[in-house]
């Protein structure tokens, strides 16, 4: 069954949430994982790009920077204390 952008948004959010505190994920990690899982169901790079945009614009996820750029759940950072 064809996946929609909304399905990808939810699947990505779940991945980020499960990885939080364990492993930092880059946008390309999310994209590759989604295409691996749902490539047969119509998920392509553009849909992943749009899904990431949605995650960030809604505020459910934020970009972070630790040498390279990552996507995480918003949180208070240690350095701010």
């Amino acid at each position: 069954m064809a996946k929609t952008k909304e399905d990808v948004v939810e699947a990505m959010f779940k991945m980020v949430k499960e990885a939080q505190g364990q492993k930092k994920l880059k946008p390309m990690d999310l994209t590759k994982a989604m295409i691996e899982l749902y490539g047969d169901e119509g998920v392509d790079k553009q849909m992943c790009k749009d899904a990431i945009k949605e995650l960030i614009n809604s505020g459910r996820c934020v970009y972070t920077y630790y040498g390279g750029s990552y996507i995480e759940i918003p949180h208070q950072e240690g350095a701010a204390n």
Partner: protein
């Protein structure tokens, strides 16, 4: 002056005839407690020979992944006014042309929202606003948007494109650097604000091989203006230089790296097919010589400053391309390069390092370019000539 911290070491840097950042920070400190604490912490660092900044990784403005660089003092109790000291990069206008009115507005915003300290401009080309707190980031962003300024790039994204002043001021510009910079900036807004690359990626546009923005050393994709016909010559002006005492043989001909010039005391000849487009002769005799009429740009790929690997210069990937709006062919090439690098590049691997790792031959294959002789970076290096199995 309000009570500034005691800074004998920094004070040394106010001496001499040259500009002094200490003088400037002290001036700002009359109004800004952040600037005053900055002086204090810096003096302490000079005494102890250690830095007292911590990196932040999460601060930014809603929707953007770049343009804000988080910094915190690790001595917030001693220097409370700089416990947060974030930097904002602001996208500069192409060629750095401003009205004084626009500059005043930026400064007013920053005196209200931040330390008041600016750096015009950073090595990325952006306007750098130094030092603010997390709660001031969004208000600053909306103030800037009200005067039609936007935040620039940082992190693993497209960095703010930057160019020389080109045709606005310089007769040597072989293409309109400012137009291309503006066009690419607007076309690649997502790539600028939403980091999706393995690491940073920079474009710099220089109008001619003098490369006033040092694109060949400082950008992943250097777009350098060039001509492919003959250097234009005004023979009477050449003679005038000679009559006025210029030693054309010594100062021009002998220094031509293409060894393609001849001077018999009366007439200057150039064998243009050997010209390396170095600009030397044109720079020395600007009234007599100028770039040819068939103008465009040479695209070079791969430079970066030393971090893990050493410094690299860009090397030729497209020897000549006409650069005219809507710039479709260059955008197609850029998209192809990003596709391959994003797919295969390792975390924090610049495109130049990526090419070193996979090999130029494989890279050209992947982005769909034919190898040509101009791509040879050094004589006797792999000339990227490949023979298929069936040709052997």
């Amino acid at each position: 002056m309000a009570d500034l911290p005691n800074t004998p070491k920094l004070d040394e840097l106010e001496k001499g005839k040259w500009p002094s950042f200490v003088k400037e920070i002290k001036m700002a400190a009359k109004k800004s407690p952040m600037a005053a604490d900055l002086l204090g912490q810096l003096e302490q660092s000079y005494n102890e020979k250690i830095g007292h900044w911590k990196h932040g990784g999460i601060v930014g403005v809603m929707g953007y992944g770049g343009g804000v660089i988080g910094r915190y003092s690790d001595l917030p109790d001693k220097w409370p006014n700089i416990s947060h000291f974030h930097t904002m990069r602001i996208n500069q206008p192409a060629g750095w042309f401003y009205t004084s009115e626009a500059l005043r507005k930026i400064c007013d915003i920053w005196e209200k929202r931040g330390s008041g300290l600016t750096n015009m401009h950073g090595s990325t080309g952006d306007i750098i606003l130094l030092g603010t707190t997390t709660d001031q980031l969004e208000p600053t962003f909306s103030d800037l948007q009200n005067i039609n300024f936007d935040i620039g790039g940082s992190g693993s994204d497209l960095r703010t494109p930057s160019c020389c002043c080109g045709m606005a001021r310089c007769e040597w510009a072989c293409y309109d650097t400012m137009a291309l910079t503006y066009d690419l900036t607007m076309h690649y807004q997502d790539e600028l604000h939403r980091p999706a690359f393995p690491y940073k990626f920079k474009f710099k546009m220089a109008g001619c091989p003098n490369d006033c923005v040092a694109s060949i050393a400082r950008s992943d994709l250097s777009i350098i203006g060039i001509w492919r016909d003959e250097i234009q010559m005004d023979k009477a002006a050449v003679k005038e230089y000679a009559d006025k005492g210029m030693d054309i043989q010594h100062d021009v001909v002998d220094r031509c790296p293409g060894k393609c010039m001849e001077w018999d005391g009366k007439e200057l000849k150039i064998e243009n097919s050997y010209c390396k487009k170095c600009m030397h002769c044109i720079n020395v005799m600007p009234k007599a010589l100028r770039p040819g009429k068939d103008r465009g740009a040479c695209l070079l790929l791969g430079s970066k400053a030393p971090i893990i690997e050493g410094a690299m210069l860009s090397s030729v990937i497209v020897p000549f391309v006409k650069l005219e709006p809507p710039y479709d062919d260059i955008k197609e090439l850029i998209d192809n390069i990003w596709d391959v690098w994003c797919e295969e590049g390792k975390n924090r691997e610049r495109v130049g390092e990526f090419i070193q790792r996979v090999g130029m031959g494989n890279f050209l294959d992947a982005i769909g370019l034919e190898p040509v002789a101009e791509m040879v970076a050094h004589p006797r290096e792999n000339p990227y000539v490949f023979y298929g199995e069936d040709e052997e």
